[in-house]
Amino acid sequence: MKSIIVKELKLILKEKRSYFFLLIMPLLMIVMFGSVFGNTDDSTVDIHVIDQDHSLASKAFLSQMGHIKGINLEKTASKNTKDEIDKIKKGQLSSVIVINKGFQKALKEGKQADLKLYQDPSSASSVAPVKAVLKNIANGYREQKLSQTLAAKGISKEDISKTLAQPIVIKDVNTTATGINYISQIVPGMTVMFVFYIMISMAKRFFDEKKSGLLARVQSTTVKPYQYLIGMWLPFVIIVFAQCVLLFAFGHWVYNLNLGDLAALGLIIICISICSSGLGLALSLIVSSENMAMVISQIIALGGAMVGGLWMPSYLMPSFVQTIGQFTPQFWAQKSLQDVIARGAHIGNVIDGLAILTAFGIVGLIVAMICFPRFLRSAAN
């Protein structure tokens, strides 16, 4: 069996196509998505403003906006509101705030100050933060006005602050490990997705052995069928393990991905390796051709990635998709990995995921053992 394992590892490492599917593609995807979404935590909202009042009040208002974290005020050079509206119509701007003339005067007189928000209806998601900021500042002005009115009626400062205190206070409490970002979705997601491409490599190897007559010849030696099967399977377990280790190491060193409990992570990777290579073994021996194996591998890898929450978190998908996803090994692989990486879980917390992944692998092995005699016969004839 050792000779088969050594031979197979040498053949896999000499096969250039393996590197493409197992390493280059996932690395490219991680880099691509990492570049696009990796810095979402540091993103700022650009707010375009036309100040037509040029008063102390309008400047104070803008200064207040400018001090909010994540807001970048961009005063437009043009004083013509129509030009800016045209830009919105052309899709060059998503929104613009116009502080009309008379803003300070209205505030002083206790009237409603006029402020307009021009927006592109198709960019609702990018306008929403601008709206929230404006509403927040407007609330501040309202509180200030209330406070002045109450003070004018002789109510003490303490009573005023009690009256204006928010009835509900929302406090941010971080329940997960530190360093969570989009990378903690992408690195495990892409790793798990491309792990299942090992099935293509496995099917190719088995069909090469069959077509070349090598499998028939090996049957004339002292090698037992079970030795051959295990000898062909174990190298792929090792390859998938190495693939996962390299991709997570890349995520850790390049994108500062938090790896969590390394023992738990290692165990999950072992279970993923058993799972994907076990299913690959079964597929290689069930299908009648290499092309069919390739098609089914794509369906399993891409379909599982889609419903298993590898491309986006499961909770963002429709409930029926979430339900289907739970029947895929990709879901349990991703969940277990994210539990360890993002939620600080340890081995004890991911036992269910480990068991399910191993079960998938064992089912694959059992199916492979059942189908192997037929495969051997077809190779011999």
Partner: protein
């Protein structure tokens, strides 16, 4: 009960019985196609046995049954009295099998291929290294041992293909058309290898559809067609029994050979004529007299040795097809 053979008992048995392999009434069907109908032959220890037949005759199927790769539907094949289908260990220990295809890992080196097959035959460590060096020496490929097989010529690949089956020192080497697709020089090299192996005591079963290969290498043959062994015996005996003797005559200006007594069939061949007969001396005497009387300008007149081609024709009624 599993039969355990060691090399001493092997030699003792082979010497006493002198028959290494006894194949009896093998049958094999693939779906509706009957590949083997009735294959019966025996191979003497130390012989070079030729299995001659056209493509699709059942040679490869017979070889695969002998090596335990496939099971026969009926009949038996006994290696020193032990049914090969019941003792796979003995088969892999005593038989070396060289399939028709070049079954090597082309991306790996010749040495790596030999390591793989050596270990597959149960050889390990220093013994394996020694054997690899020996077979590389025998095949004349020591210099190219570390090169990838894909860089080899067809003949070199064929030689390594054979070497892989020699590592465990088999008593019986089964070669299934080992010269397909190679140049005459490489073929001669392989013939030399096979002769040397045979002289070293290894019994050879050589399957081919080339008659000249059997005539060159083998001392005993079986002729197989449509899944049946038509005849078996020493080459000379088969030629004597089934070969048609004839006389070849070449003269200038002769457009037709007159009818002669004892001539069964006359045919034009090249610039002359072939007269098939059972009474060579009578016909030869008559021909010489006829030539002298008619002043024929005889360029060549000779007795034609019976060939395997005529044996095959006589047994199957058809020429050996490719």
């Amino acid at each position: 009960m599993e039969t355990v053979l060691n090399s001493e008992s092997f030699n003792a048995q082979s010497q006493s019985a002198n028959t290494l392999l006894e194949v009896s009434h093998l049958k094999k069907t693939y779906g509706k196609k009957q590949a083997l109908e009735d294959v019966t032959f025996s191979v003497k220890a130390g012989s070079c046995f030729g299995l001659l037949g056209p493509n699709g005759a059942g040679k490869s199927t017979t070889m695969k049954i002998l090596t335990g790769i496939i099971k026969a539907d009926g009949g038996s094949a006994n290696l020193l009295g032990t049914d090969v289908s019941k003792d796979k260990n003995m088969v892999s220990k005593y038989i070396g099998y060289v399939p028709q295809e070049i079954t090597l890992y082309e991306q790996l080196s010749a040495y790596d291929n030999l390591v793989f097959f050596g270990e597959a035959y149960g050889i390990r460590g220093s013994e394996l290294k020694r054997r690899i060096n020996e077979v590389l020496e025998d095949t004349g490929l020591s210099e190219r041992a570390k090169d990838a097989v894909k860089t080899f010529s067809g003949g070199m690949k064929r030689r390594i293909n054979i070497a892989c089956a020699l590592l465990h020192r088999p008593k019986l080497l089964i070669l299934d058309e080992p010269t397909v697709g190679i140049d005459p020089q490489s073929r001669n090299r392989i013939f030399e290898m096979i002769r040397a192996l045979n002289q070293s005591g290894i019994t050879i079963i050589y399957s081919t559809h080339y008659m000249e290969e059997v005539e060159t290498l083998c001392d005993e043959i079986a002729i197989i067609d449509h899944g049946n062994v038509m005849a078996q015996g020493p080459l000379g005996e088969l030629l004597e029994r089934f070969g048609q003797r004839a006389i070849y005559i070449e003269t200038s200006g002769l457009t037709e050979i007159p009818q002669l007594p004892h001539v069964m069939k006359t045919r034009k061949e090249g610039s002359g004529w072939v007269l098939e007969t059972d009474q060579v001396s009578n016909v030869m005497t008559n021909l010489i007299k006829l030539a002298a009387d008619n002043h024929w300008d005889v360029k060549q007149i000779e007795v034609v040795r019976p060939s395997l081609e005529t044996v095959f024709l006589s047994l199957t009624g058809t020429a050996l097809r490719d």
